[in-house]
């Protein structure tokens, strides 16, 4: 049997904001091609956890190893990891002073040192993939929320990341726009992209995840395959959380 390699390996990780402990003894392993969905009540540390993976938040103890690189105080390591790990935010984070095309082509040009023509080609390729290539020359403010989030996904993909992080990608969207964004993420999952996704969309979680992680109070309470997680939760807190959702 071929042992699957872990692309994310977090062990005994603790995160503090001053005296407040936001994450407690986190152990998390994600194998290549893994599709992890993290859920839990608000304030449970879900977003903090995935923001630690690309070091938008630093951790105080324990270790985080991403793609074979140990994330410590070394800025070069952190930059190297950020190039390989794409992230999609709740509020899109598109650059409002640049067109959609420029938003997508910027990082390939600045970070991957692609020529402008090449970067534009890459950008158009992924904008087509998320089906908004006709919006390429518009500014973010001229697009709907769903289109903006798809553009943000395309922007992350332009860096050809090995891992994608989604931080509540549909929470800021109008209900009727959610499905167009989820469709894009589902198609990424089908292509074998390794992803870690924080979401409240349980139907979507069931559909894409190969593992669901439930967090509360900064701790991982339970992790299981979707079927057993939804049908047969073990922990009381998980049961309570799921019963509130249904």
């Amino acid at each position: 049997m071929i042992k699957k390699t872990n692309v994310i390996n977090i062990s005994k990780m603790n995160k503090f904001y001053g005296k407040f402990q936001a994450l407690k003894d986190i152990d998390l392993k994600v194998e290549k091609g893994g599709r992890i969905v993290i859920c839990g009540p608000s304030g449970s540390g879900k977003s903090t956890l995935i923001r630690c993976i690309n070091q938008l938040e630093d951790h105080q103890s324990g270790s985080i190893n991403v793609l074979g690189t140990l994330l410590d105080d070394n800025i070069d390591n952190i930059d190297a990891i950020r190039r390989e790990v794409g992230m999609v935010f709740q509020h899109f984070g598109l650059f409002p002073h640049l067109t959609i095309l420029e938003n997508c082509a910027l990082a390939p040009m600045l970070v991957r040192k692609e020529s402008q023509a090449n970067a534009n080609m890459i950008a158009m390729e992924y904008l087509e993939r998320v089906k908004i290539s006709e919006q390429a020359d518009k500014f973010p403010g001229q697009l709907s929320g769903g289109q903006q989030q798809r553009a943000a996904i395309a922007r992350a993909l332009c860096m050809k990341p090995k891992i994608m992080l989604f931080d509540e990608p549909t929470s800021a969207l109008d209900p009727e726009l959610i499905s167009e964004v989820l469709e894009v993420i589902v198609s990424l999952a089908k292509d074998g992209m390794t992803m870690v996704c924080v979401t409240h969309e349980m139907g979507f979680a069931k559909k894409i995840a190969n593992r669901i992680i439930f967090m509360d109070n900064g701790q991982i309470i339970e992790q299981a395959e979707p079927k057993s997680f939804f049908d047969n939760p073990k922990n009381e807190r998980t049961k309570l959380f799921l019963s509130q959702l249904m």
Binding site: L56, R83, F89, H97, L106, V111, F139, R155
Partner: protein
Amino acid sequence: MKNLSQSLSLIDLIRKKILVSKINTLVTLIFAALTLWILYLLVNWAFIDAVFGANNRSLCLDPTIETGACWSVIAARWRLILFGLYPFEEQWRAAIACFVIILVAGLSTLSYFLSAKNLSLLWLGGFSLFYTLMRGGIFGLTPVKELMWGGLPLTTFIFSMVIITGMPLAVLFALLRRSELPWISRSMGLVIDTIRSLPLLAILFTFAIVLPFVLPGWLIGDKLYRVIIGFTLFFACYQAEIIRGGIQSLPGSQEEAAKALGISYWHRMSRIVLPQAFQRAMPPTVNQFVITFKETTLVSIIGFFDLLSSANAAYGTALWSFAHIEVYVFVAAIFFVFVFTLSRYGAYLENRLNVTKH
């Protein structure tokens, strides 16, 4: 028909908005009359009863006729007002130099020059041309010491030097002030707060008069440049806080999104954060430009003949001392043209940058 309905709606508008009640109507009429009366007096003074022509000084002083403004003083002394102590026969050089600065300032507004490289090349060229023309000493131009520079060329030179060198300095100060390393941000904060808490006059005075006692000889340079350096520091500290305000008004998600893409600090600043910060800081920045332009008149205190002090000199002789109002009106008009152009350009920039929002 269309005209009629339009004029009807105008009357409607007046009726609804202005002539609402008896008191409202009365106040409107009183102020309308007052405005018209002041306007009548002004037009009378400035044009109808005014005396023109350089040789009509005696007409202005003739007690037997009622006269308005005596524009003869401008006709006779305009070269002193515009060029100060600059040698009379060489004033064509000062005129061209002044025109160069204004032209370069105008060119900087074109989108072609709105990049750091092009803009700095443009101004470097502009300033060298200005310096060559004003200072002379080469190409057969008679040398003219900085102390003899004056009037409008001096004012525009000081202003543009302060802005062009102060702006990059302000950006640097703002970024250092926001440094994550506390000892850098705190010491920058201390420098900014200290300089801002000093009156500009004191700073100019220190740089012009006190500094030569402390500095080694080779570092002293000309008084004009010391004054410009002091002025630039002062401007940079205020402008740094304006830029910092612009940066801090951005949602943190902008920098985070750029970080998550692996974009480096300098690229994050130059491509993501600063362009948006400048966009947001545009109104206070234009405000700071306007204030700085008017503050250039303070250099008169340390013996420079900027526009305002050469104007003082223009009526400061027994010959024209009665005509100070006309001289001040003339200078005010020049200042108005510059400041108004600045604020209109600011408004235009704001509009253009807002196209990206919606």
